[in-house]
């Protein structure tokens, strides 16, 4: 493992205790491409269901769920559950038996958000022991007793249990997965570099959320991302603003802006029938219009988005509160509500802001 991977580890592991960390060093984790790992490139494509499983020749990948849920009495909840895999050395690994190894690290982040309330929990494990991992058939992603798994009918269930919150959810993929970018290669800059990226744009969700000893029966919708790469950002890029939105008319929208010397915009618009269109910088505009002073500095929390070709003129507003997931590479992951030409809901993720 080179120094960059070591930094990645620290970045993710030292959740909550890295207040004095050098953020530039932390961001290096997403920018540097260590030798021996495969780099995502244009022309590569996605094949399912294999690509639901781990890619041991890539350095960093994730299984990423965000969901907007509602309680029986109108309570609003945001749920995030992410499993990261970080390769310490490029795979495939020879050892088939389980054992104590130093090949890869698994990390999971779980968060439960309500207006003005954000709870976060993290877990980490080494690969090779069976303590954490992902299998393709049946699809199962787990770390300790946190688990996302599919059943024989193709539906998924998620169980997360932490000190101050828990959730048990049933997820039904309502639309087939969509390939983002160029048949799954999602560029992150004009100069090349990016990741392999596909999403399940609509998961119908119901289940139970427990917080402060209270149980809530919940229902709602979610967005699930699969992404893998060995270098996400270019050296001049500081971070990204990412949005996944569910509009009331049944359409779904994923957009992101990479902030660098030259900002890079792209996105995917998914029609109600599941057909998807990749969006370029010329197709839409996305600009912050309001900021909020948060725990770790000023962040844009209201965004104006126009996509004239699809008749969209949206104002995207973060829920009131502070939605930072702590750690050395802390990031904002919080629910948003959508108004304007269409109403809706979704999630906003921002990296590279924290001071």
């Amino acid at each position: 493992m080179n120094s960059a991977s070591r930094i990645v580890l620290l970045v993710f592991l030292l959740s909550g205790c890295g207040e004095s960390a050098d953020r530039e060093v932390s961001l290096g984790a997403l920018r540097e491409s260590p030798a021996g790992f495969t780099q995502a490139a244009p022309g590569m494509t996605v094949s399912l269901p294999e690509d639901m499983g781990p890619h041991r020749d890539y350095r960093l990948e994730w299984w990423y769920l965000t969901a907007n849920l509602h309680g029986a009495d109108g309570e609003r909840f945001g749920v995030q559950w992410t499993l990261f895999r970080i390769g310490l050395r490029p795979g495939p690994y020879q050892e088939k038996e389980s054992g104590w190894r130093r090949d890869e690290i698994w990390l999971a982040h779980a968060a439960l958000s309500r207006p003005n309330d954000h709870r976060f929990a993290a877990r980490s494990a080494r690969g090779g022991t069976g303590q954490a991992g992902v299998t393709v058939q049946p699809f199962r992603a787990w770390i300790d007793h946190w688990q996302l798994e599919s059943n024989h009918s193709g539906n998924w269930s998620l169980a997360v249990d932490s000190e101050d919150f828990a959730y048990r959810l049933h997820l039904k993929p309502r639309l087939p997965p969509v390939l983002n970018g160029d048949r799954g290669f999602s560029a992150k800059s004009t100069g090349g570099g990016g990741s392999m990226y596909f999403s399940y744009p609509l998961l119908a969700i119901d289940g139970e959320v427990i917080t402060d000893g209270q149980r809530f029966q919940v229902a709602g919708q979610g967005w699930f991302d699969r992404e893998w790469s060995s270098q996400y950002l270019q050296p001049d890029q500081q971070g990204w603003d990412w949005l996944a939105l569910h509009l009331q008319d049944g359409r779904h929208l994923m957009l992101f802006r990479i902030r660098g010397d030259e900002p890079y915009f792209t996105g995917t618009l998914v029609a109600a029938d599941g057909s998807a269109r990749t969006l370029g910088a010329d197709d839409f505009s996305l600009q912050p219009s309001e900021y909020r002073d948060s725990r770790f500095g000023r962040v844009p929390v209201v965004w104006q988005m126009q996509l004239p070709a699809a008749g969209l003129d949206l104002e995207i507003r973060s829920w009131p509160g502070d939605y930072w997931n702590p750690g050395q590479l802390r990031y904002w992951e919080g629910p948003v509500s959508v108004s304007g030409s269409h109403s809706g809901e979704g999630y906003l993720e921002m990296t590279g802001y924290a001071d």
């Binding site: 070591r6 620290l10 054992g99 494990a125 022991t129 007793h145």
Partner: protein, 790 residues
Amino acid sequence: MGLGTVFLSHYRRHPGQLAGLLLILICAAMLWSGVRSLTGRAEDAVAQSRAALEPRLSVVRVDGQAVDVADFAELRRAGLCASPRLQVTFPASEAPEVVGIDPFSAACLRQYSVGTPVVDELVAELDQPILLGSASDLARWRRLSLPGMGEYQLQETEGLPSGVLLTDIAVAAELAPSGRAGLEILLPAAELDRLPLPAGYRGQIEDYGVEPDPLVEAFLLNLNALGALALLVAALLVRSIYRFALEQRRRSLEILVRLGVRTARLRMALVVEVLLLALVGASLGVLLGEWLASAMADGFQGTLSGLFSVDTLARSPPALETWFGMVLILVVVVGWAGVDLLMLGRREQRTVAEMEKRRWLTTPTLVPLILVAVSLAVLLGAEKLWLIFLATTGCLIGAGLLLPGLLNRLLARVQRRSRQPLLEWSCAEMRALCRLLQLPLVALAFAIAAAIGVQAMVAGFEATFARWLDQRLQGDLYLDPGRPLVNGAAADWRGRLQALPGVKTVLPMVRGRGLVDRMPVDVLAIDPASTLVRGWPFLAAVSDPWSALVERGVLINEQLARRQSLALGDDIRFRLGTKMQSREVIGIYADYGRPEGELLLPLATLPDVLPRSYTTFVLGTTAANKINWQDWPGQYSWLAGSRLRDQTGLKRAANAAFARTFQMTRLLNGLTLALAGTALALMGLVIFRLRQRSYTLLHVYGVPRRRLRRRLLVHSMLITGLLGVLATPLGIFLCWVLVARVNPAAFGWALPLHLYPGFWLQVWLVCMLIGAFVGALMRDPVHLETLKNE
């Protein structure tokens, strides 16, 4: 000419005085801050290990199979906060043990989550096989020369247990084939209140998680007290030098007053001088103290881990507070010395000599006598260690005050009875010296007493210990299997050992931990029928204790008997693992050298699971020197990795452990004695110069120069020699305090009081040598110039 220059001019004229003063201050600061640095670190280590205490379980499989990585994954998948620990031991007896932990789950155990940055270190270096450990353990590791060892990055890390190299569990697993590995899956006991263990597993207590006796504090208090004694000696010396300086400076100060310098300003200048002296002394002393502490750290750590299982000693640079504290202490020391100078204005009219004389005449012998009596009474009744130290200090101060007076009276009596005028003069001269050198003489007396006392205790301990060890070590060979023997393996080993050539008897000994009255105690289980235990000495026992042990009884060590106030016939309730038992005390045995309480039980009474259970064997042979037991581990594969030692080897190891324990005490004593001797020499030199006039007068009256020179030498030697003799009872008293009062309070065992007249002779000789040295420094006591002003 400024006031400062006038002040400095004194030291320019008497540079030896300044050097002496600074030397004493630096030495005292070095001793005190060095000792404090070590004891402070130990206190931190104790606090840290206390914070890391928690009842801990080791998860085992019900089917008796050893746990492996799949079991760990299963427990984690069940939601339990379990963490693995892979211990790898190597055949070489001096090799450190490699302990592999999983940094990702280590936070589950308080021991790795409280104040240990090692976990982050292991995560950050996950790509490189890194071993963390103390410098000495890493050095031992390098000597091992295992295959592929060059790949391992070694990093010196403080705060780790000695004899252990910590690493990532994957690295330990890579090393496992070169040694013997044992995997444990640990779990805080509290986890099972939250979740049950999955079927097929059970938890056995690995650590009760209770605090041991605060004995280590008593040990540290001992050391601090020695450091304080050094400070006391230094205070006396500094005061004597400063008071003496007063004599020399009074005239120049008076001139300054007459010239119009206000006494307030004069006092301020003196305060500045005191502060400067304290500042220089403290700064250099603290630096040297750190050096002293690091030089002694290894021995000290060995002692601590051997005696109290405190072995996470971290090194820390001297803090600003340490330095500031030292400056303050020295300000008090120098300030006390200079208090007479500060009172200058009020006592202007009296000369110092008059003051000295007055004090000398009026010092009542009653006050020190009362002090000694009261302190003795307190000492006899006190149980608390600090009270014992306080009372001892009282006795010492009282005796110190009496001692010069005693010397004076002795000389006065000789003076009265002497028929020869020169002898009479000599006596008067020595009395004058006693008076002038009162304080450094008292300091020297303390140092002598401490040397005699500590030597008697150490030598007494060694003799008692050696005798006790001879009686206790009945077998010829001692076998450490090098790994815990579980699931009936001990019985299997016993059979195999019995079959070895030349082996007559085999005695398995199981050590573990139990609880008495919520305090952890050691448990030792043996076979009472074995012939190897027949010769055991007891402090008190019922008749035929070994058969009573089988039926109803328990043997306990002196420490436990004292601590729990137990006598023969009392019942004692104790917990072994999860089982409570109650047995009758049928014997109390001496168990020197460590503070832990111990229960001795028959093997049959042990539960299946005893925390920290470890089996060793004692072998009785036909003739140990005729069998090649050294080759056994090579010959028999099942003995590979085990350690065999014969009786002499074991004794050597035990003695080495104690030599290390006392090394510090001896070093501190030696330094104190050297300090007192040096100070006396410096003072003596100046005092003798003051007395030159009387020697010169005698020379003028016709006594030859050579004879006077010899006489001066004899005076000096007689005073220090007599002081040595007079300080000897004080030393015996100190030894009694140490063996009969301090030891039971600090360690739980008492020692018989032994006297060593041979050593006294050595000390007296050293005293006379100091005297001779002081006398010899004078070279020629006759200086006609001293009569010039008369």
